[in-house]
């Protein structure tokens, strides 16, 4: 029977990637995700897999492009400024319909910012970030064990939909240690075949992997095909979690680390007789608009709490519309909201 081990978030993501059958990992060092890179450096070569410390983030994502095109499971990881550099490659992956997993252990921004946890890359992750009409699936874990589970899921979704998938973590999740039950390894040989991959044109026509078509009609078709896939993802892959929302008069909408903190705020508020619930998107793209819309017609207030100036808040307001009040509380620059601070905000909006 598998046993629980105490591990850091960054290492859990790395180990889960290995267990998901990641054959090639390429990255460039950056805080606060260096442990992820180091775990891969220690473990990939001894498994006969590829670890390359790339010369840059741009090179790392381009290596991912190559490995993915060659049909293997592949991943890169970084933190905010590094993810900005990867945006070129992410757009090419999306345009070329190539699966890949990208981990963003978000830190304070903009610019060099700092190395403290933040959620200020939500827009970049969910609304494009790179050029062109594309989306990637974005999974937002709120605990260390969940980071492992969602990493396994990320590889599955990437392959199923031939799309880049991002794990949107933050510096706190990356650094925190928690007991985890590591998932069973996937047998890479048992994974579904990728008949589209560039593996050598033996006994078949050449596979050509492109992200362009100079003919507008052709590029239109390519885009429509992408959009059709995004529709399917929106229909099938929305994930969220609700905590004590059945009788709630107010709910907090939060993802990732903030949702974890908000869970304790729910307990604190309930102890004081405040009927507080929590709505936590697990996929921030596709955002759980429908479940939140349904919930918002039963509550008076949806308080968005983020470590940003209000990025997910825009999606919350799109979902809620005028059905409930939609105040916002955010902390910036790597400051993590405290349970007390959040509870104080909750109290401002009840009664």
């Amino acid at each position: 029977m598998a046993k629980r081990v105490l591990m850091r978030g960054n290492e859990v993501i790395a180990e889960a990637a290995i267990r998901a059958g990641c054959q090639c990992y390429f990255a460039y060092p950056i805080t606060p995700q260096a442990e992820l890179l180091e775990h891969m450096a220690r473990n990939m070569p001894r498994l006969g897999r590829t670890f390359v410390q790339a010369e840059s983030e741009v090179a790392a994502i381009s290596m991912v492009h190559g490995a993915s095109a060659a049909g293997v499971r592949t991943m890169t990881s970084s933190s905010s400024p590094g993810i900005s550099l990867k945006m070129e490659g992410i757009s090419y992956l999306a345009g070329s319909s190539l699966p890949a997993v990208i981990v963003n252990v978000v830190r304070g921004g903009p610019g060099l910012g700092n190395i403290a946890p933040a959620q200020c890359d939500y827009f970049q992750a969910t609304k494009g970030g790179g050029h062109g009409d594309y989306h990637m699936i974005v999974l937002a874990p709120s605990t260390v064990p969940e980071a492992g589970e969602l990493t396994m899921l990320a590889f599955e979704l990437a392959d199923r939909y031939r799309t880049p998938v991002m794990i949107l973590a933050d510096g706190m999740l990356g650094q925190m240690m928690e007991p985890v039950l590591l998932p069973d390894p996937v047998d890479p040989a048992a994974l579904p075949a990728k008949p589209w991959a560039a593996t050598g044109a033996k006994g078949r026509e050449p596979n050509i992997i492109l992200s362009f078509d100079l003919d507008p009609e052709g590029l239109r078709r390519m885009n429509l095909e992408l959009q059709a896939r995004y529709r399917t993802i929106r229909e099938k892959e929305v994930r969220h979690e609700e905590t004590e929302t059945e009788d709630a008069e107010i709910v907090i909408a939060a993802h990732g680390t903030v949702a974890r903190i908000a869970k304790s705020v729910v307990r604190m508020a309930r102890a004081e007789g405040i009927r507080l619930g929590l709505f936590r998107p697990i996929t921030v793209w596709p955002f759980p608009y429908e479940p939140l819309r349904a919930l918002s017609s039963r509550v008076e207030t949806v308080l968005t709490v983020e470590m940003s100036a209000g990025q997910m808040w825009e999606d919350v307001r799109l979902a809620v519309a005028e059905r409930a009040k939609t105040p916002f509380y955010g902390e910036l620059g790597g400051v993590v909201p405290t349970p007390k601070g959040i509870l104080r905000e909750v109290k401002r909006h009840v009664g």
């Binding site: 010369e55 090179a59 290596m63 190559g66 095109a69 596979n207 050509i208 492109l210 362009f212």
Partner: protein
Amino acid sequence: MSVSVERMVKVFERPRSLTGAHSTYCPGCHHGILTRIIGQTIDDLGIVERTVGIAPVGCAVFAYRWYRCDALQVAHGRASAVATGVKRARPDLVVFAYQGDGDFASIGTAESIHAANRGENITVIFVNNQVYGMTGGEMAPTTLVGQKTTTTPDGRDPALFGYPIRFSEMIAQLEAPVYVTRQALFDTKRIQETTKAIRKAFTNQVERKGYSLVEVLATCPTNWHMKPVEANRHVAEVVTKVFPLGDLVNRG
């Protein structure tokens, strides 16, 4: 008088590794010669079923159309990094990156140098025609001093834009590459030399020797505003003075 081919043997035909597609290059452009040489090499080595080509951004953006092998078209300058990814994922494939001077020696500088420095077991073909052809004849990193382009209308002034970069010489300073050479295509002798170089660069990879780079001085008659034959002469008489031909590294 006409000679019937029925009593004759074919001594030169289109390489089987090339598709039937008509090239998109301008008349007299050396990309086509190089494409034929690569196709011939893939034929000769019998590797078409395990070759993957990496097409760049630039005039060779359609390079994936010319060969009967798997291919990718990738971001500007990143071909050597993408080739790294393909090769590391599947070492049994033969991977070649085909890059122009802007792609390889300007926007892809970091990717080009570090793939070479890691000694990736790949083949890189670097086409140096000293100009950005696809976008309208702008200055390239390899544009000659005094050369007029659409962004150096009075000629490249080193005080403002520096000097033509001898990128292969830079790569040749590294320890890992097994083969670095500069070739040209301005006459049949050079074409035969280039053919040997390309064959060596692919053979090195097949034999798992490591990184090979073949820089090829090419013409751009359109953006040089020269007739193809005149452009050939320009390479022979002027360009080779700045970019001398020959092997820079040969550790094979």
